[in-house]
Structure formats: C-alpha cells, structure tokens
C-alpha cells in the first residue's frame, strides 16, 4: 500500500492540536498551563498556515507564521506579567480562584 502523506494529514494534525489546545484551556486550572494551551492552539494554526503555504505554493503563509510568532511572544509577555501580578496577591491561586467578579 502506498501510504502517501497528503496535505490533509497535516491539516488534520493541526486541527487535532488546535482541539487539544482548546480543550486544555477549558479543563486546566493553572494559569500558566492555560497559557501553554493557547500556545498549542497558535502552533496548530502555524502548522496549518505552513501547510497551506506549501499547497498554494505561496510564501505568504510562512511569512504570516512569522507574525504569529511575534504576537505569541508579546501575548506571553503580557500574559505572564498579568499572571505574576495576580499571583503576587493570591499566591498559588488557580484560575478558578480568580472569580471575585461574577454575576
């Protein structure tokens, strides 16, 4: 059997990764792990971009990944900043503990 790696495989892998990331954000309580899960999602998108780039024969997709990386970096910086500030007040808090605002 000629098992050929098609583009679809990459795309499905990306979708799987995205899903895992999304589920991770929803089920994990540690703020940093949540952050990591978002990174998983972004990476899934990156993979998708690169795959499309290859399929389309267009370098633009790869360039976009570049920007996504920058955004991810900036997000992480700010996200970590916020988390640090938050955890300074509430040492050891999980995401669920941060629920003063509700209703």
């Amino acid at each position: 059997m000629d098992l050929h790696v098609t583009h679809a495989w990459y795309l499905v892998l990306g979708a799987l990764l995205f899903t895992l990331g999304a589920v991770g954000v929803v089920v994990r309580r540690n703020p940093l792990v949540m952050l990591m899960c978002v990174e998983l999602m972004l990476n899934a998108v990156n993979l998708t971009f690169v795959t499309f780039s290859r399929m389309l024969g267009d370098v633009g997709g790869q360039t976009i990944v570049f920007f996504v990386l920058v955004v991810a970096a900036a997000e992480v910086v700010v996200g970590l900043g916020i988390t640090v500030a938050l955890l300074r007040r509430l040492p050891g808090a999980t995401a669920d503990d941060v629920s003063y605002l509700r209703g």
């Binding site: 583009h7 795309l11 990476n43 790869q62 970096a73 900036a74 992480v76 910086v77």
Partner: protein, 199 residues
Amino acid sequence: MVELVTFAIAGLVVLGGAVGVITSRNPVHAALSLVATLFGIAVLFIAQEAHLLAAVQVIVYTGAIVVLILFVIMLLGIDRMEDVMSEPLRGQRALAALLGVGLLGCSGLLVWLADGDADRFVTGARAATAALDQDEANIAQVGRSLFTDYVFAFELTAALLTIAVIGAVVLAKRPTDLAPLPERPVDPAAAADDEEVAG
C-alpha cells in the same frame, strides 16, 4: 516514505506533547511537554520545507517563550501539583469533551466534504507574485515577502513589542497601599433574590 516516517514520528511527538501539556499535574512537566510539541512542529515545518520557520520556531518558542514560562513558574513557586483528576466545575469536562468532539467533527466534516483531498477546498489561487520557488532559499523568499507584501505588518510588530515591554514594566511594579481583598461573592443566583422587584 521518508515523509511518512517523519510525519508519523513528529506527529506523535506533537500530539503526545500536547496531551502532556493538558494532562500533566506539574506545570513544569507541562512546559516540557510543550517543548516537545514545539519541536515536533518545527520538524513538520522542515518536512514542509519551511526551514527558516523551523529555526525561528525553535529559537523563539522553545528558546524564549517556554523558558520565560519556566522562569515564571520558578519565580512564583507555583509548581504545585494540580489535581487534574477532579473538576470543581460541574459539567465542565463533559462540555469540554463536547467542544473537542465538535471541533474535530467539524474538521472531519471538512475532510469528508473534500473526500480526503485537501486540494479540493484549498481552492486559493496559486500564488503568482510570491510563489514558492524551489530554487531559491526559503529564507530569501520569506525575507522578500516580509519586506514587500508584509512590510506594513512587519513595521506594526514594533508597536506590538513596545506594548509588551511597557506591559511588562507596568505590571511588574509593586504597588503601595493595596486595597483589601474583596469578600468572596455569594452565589449570583442567590444575590439576585434580595433585590427589590420593580417593573
């Protein structure tokens, strides 16, 4: 065949890492799993001939981002085990599973609609201006793209990074005279009852 093996191994690493991220009780383990995933992705980049991105992926993500995360974990000492087996929010997991299944179902639907052939719906015009050229180095191509089509976006990243810097600075400050922590709010449903009824 090489691609198949590469894909299989890298794919497994990617997924394994991802599962590790979302199941590790220890955040440090999660971070390390993330590194695995990122590496896997980098390999898949290479498999798709995006060499520059593979390099950047490793350098920026694993080298900078994950390390930063690890620093914070250490700094705050929040490497406490998280009880991943229990879920305080009722229905959260079931619905999360629904979300996961749904998203996968959607992608499955897409694949099914395309009859397994992604090209059927990746209908985009094959690039004419910035075509991937097998002869030219990947880096040059990305570079050209970056400075032509995406030059504005490229410039814009400056603002993004500036903000990140300011944000880090601002949020790292240690405030004086903290406001006391508010009391835990009561259940919102109960809170609504003792309002006056009008209208």
